[in-house]
């Protein structure tokens, strides 16, 4: 149904594009973030109304039905997912977006076959969209622990990846030269394989950065679809996401002291020795909740290092109560938050905010690191990789170079852990075997509840 003139369409698309720019701008600051996101959603709704009012469309009932179905799937999934599982949901959403872009380009190919520029854009979208789709599926599987989180490298992997990459490029060239539909199917298949092969060797701790990279990729495929369809809104929105996603990926990587190339291909440079899930039988000092309570109760300064395990056990509230009980005894309690604590940069801040832990007691890494040497107890709850000294001392380790929290400098280190199983990066933590370290095994919530009771009884 054509109600809007091309001029009005262009103006309204421009308004939608401005909404997206302001959305990204707003999301860069805590005060304006929520408003920014809502503005982005408004831009999206506006764009959808415009497309229905400015284009000659058949099958409108079917299309609206499918959109309704998608909404019915997406809204409950987003509202009900546990905050701890949110990273994999974002990965999933990103993947389906990439897949949608690849399919749109595939269908558009016969209509633009005689325009070289458009065919190049189709080839790009099909290849990168397929990579984004399958790569995101693998990141989802890794985060959901449907498959091992450690880097997966099979014999001859670099050769296979190189061959598939070359094959993809060759079929992209074939597609550009002939605009042949068969070439686009081959490209789609090879791109899907390539996405899987690229993400398999990435270690669990680096997965969030890969999600961000694939997010930027999907943005670029949407931009290329905009070129194919001659739609400026898609072009602008996709490019915005591609550009901002690239910056964000670099910022995340540098927060972890990593390079993007190192993350993607590091496992091939002999990093495969690391990443074992075998449990060590070296002796550790484990103790009871009462002992831990005594350590805490007679300390002057305690630094809490919360990790993903705390969130999984839903122990944020118990942790907050323990902190306030200690403070009531005149003990100084600070939370040291690693930038990638949890599974994504900033994830732990979201989780603790959910538990209403006061913002003032959360310290960032640079702020808290010099304080460890004056701390009597460092209490590590469900964290492992972010306090692993291997990041400083073992050059071959997959986390080597990642900035860590210096808990080893504290007089006593207490780990609350479920088991001796290695952390998400799949490597052992030598700190567990040090003489100043005490371990309390068990679910974080149970352990904290016992410690809390014992502290109250001191």
């Amino acid at each position: 149904m054509i109600v809007l003139s091309p001029e009005w369409t262009a103006v309204l698309y421009l308004i939608a594009a401005v909404c997206f720019i302001l959305a990204l701008k707003g999301l860069s600051s805590p005060k304006t973030a929520r408003r920014g996101n809502l503005l982005g959603a408004f831009g999206a709704v506006l764009a959808m109304v415009v497309v229905f009012l400015s284009t000659e469309l058949d099958n409108i009932a079917l299309i609206l039905g499918v959109i309704a179905l998608g909404t019915v799937i997406a809204v409950p999934a987003s509202r009900l997912v546990k905050m701890t599982q949110m990273p994999q949901l974002v990965a999933l959403f990103n993947g389906v977006g990439g897949g949608a872009a690849a399919l749109v380009a595939l269908l558009e190919l016969p209509l633009v076959a005689d325009e070289l520029g458009a065919v190049i854009a189709v080839a790009f979208t099909v290849l990168v969209g397929a990579v984004s789709f399958s790569g995101s599926a693998i990141t989802f599987a890794k985060l959901q622990e449907l498959m091992p989180t450690r880097p997966i490298v099979f014999p001859g992997a670099p050769v296979v990846i190189s061959l598939v990459a070359l094959g993809s490029l060759a079929s992209a060239v074939w597609l550009v030269l002939t605009a042949d539909a068969t070439a686009s199917y081959v490209l789609l298949a090879l791109g899907t394989a390539l996405g899987v092969l690229i993400v398999l060797p990435v270690g669990g701790a680096d997965v969030p950065i890969v999600i961000s990279l694939l997010n930027a990729f999907t943005g670029l495929t949407v931009a290329a679809s905009g070129l194919v369809l001659g739609n400026t809104l898609l072009l602008v929105a996709g490019t915005l996401v591609g550009a901002s996603g690239t910056i964000l990926t670099r910022a995340m990587a540098s927060a972890m002291g990593r390079s993007v190339a190192g993350i993607l291909f590091g496992a091939f440079r002999g990093g495969s020795t690391a990443g074992s899930t075998a449990q060590s039988d070296r002796p550790v000092r484990s103790s009871s909740a009462e002992d831990v309570a005594i350590l805490l109760g007679y300390a002057q300064r305690v630094i809490v290092v919360p990790g993903y395990g705390l969130a999984v056990a839903q122990a944020q509230h118990t942790m907050a109560e323990l902190a306030s009980t200690l403070e009531a005894k005149g003990i100084e309690v600070v939370f040291g938050i690693h930038p990638v604590a949890g599974r994504m940069p900033g994830h732990m801040n979201v989780l603790l905010a959910e538990a209403n832990v006061p913002y003032e007691v959360l310290s960032e890494m640079d702020e808290v690191n010099p304080q460890f040497k004056n701390a009597d107890v460092a209490l590590v709850v469900g964290a492992n990789d972010v306090v692993n000294p291997a990041a400083k001392t073992t050059p071959g380790s997959p986390i080597y170079g990642m900035p860590i929290l210096d808990v080893a400098a504290a007089r006593q280190v207490v780990f609350l852990k479920r088991s001796m199983r290695p952390g998400f990066a799949g490597i052992e933590n030598d700190l567990l075997f040090e003489p100043q370290t005490t371990l309390l095994f068990g679910d974080a919530k149970d352990s904290l509840t016992k410690v809390l009771t014992a502290v109250k009884n001191l």
Binding site: A44, L57, L233, L235, T239, S244
Partner: protein, 106 residues
């Protein structure tokens, strides 16, 4: 549309994209990524156009699949981002805190 016009749009958008997120604290990396993720769900516009102009059943089916995937990306992306940011909002008063705690421990 003229290729040169599209190229102009592209180059300017790259710079805008770089500029708007250049100074963002690590606290907001997750919501920002999620928000950007939602924005590229706008590929739904493309999927709708292709589905609305489909001339054969197979094309229509594939286009509708694309529309479904894009809707999940677009709608889910904005909703999950909003849910994350909800928690960054102002501190709730002490009473409200206690009641939320109770609700969640049920």
């Amino acid at each position: 549309m003229e290729a040169i016009t599209l190229l102009t749009f592209f180059v300017l958008s790259v710079f805008v994209g770089f500029e708007v997120v250049s100074k963002v604290s690590s606290t907001l990396h997750t919501p920002l990524m999620s928000g950007a993720n939602a924005i590229h769900g706008i590929i739904l516009v493309g999927a709708v156009i292709v589905a609305g102009q489909a001339e054969s059943i197979p094309v229509l089916v594939v286009a509708l699949i694309a529309a479904l995937l894009a809707t999940v990306n677009l709608v889910g992306g904005f909703v999950v981002t909003d849910r994350m940011l909800e928690m960054f909002g102002g501190r709730k008063p002490a009473g409200a805190t206690a009641s939320t705690t109770k609700e969640e421990s049920k």
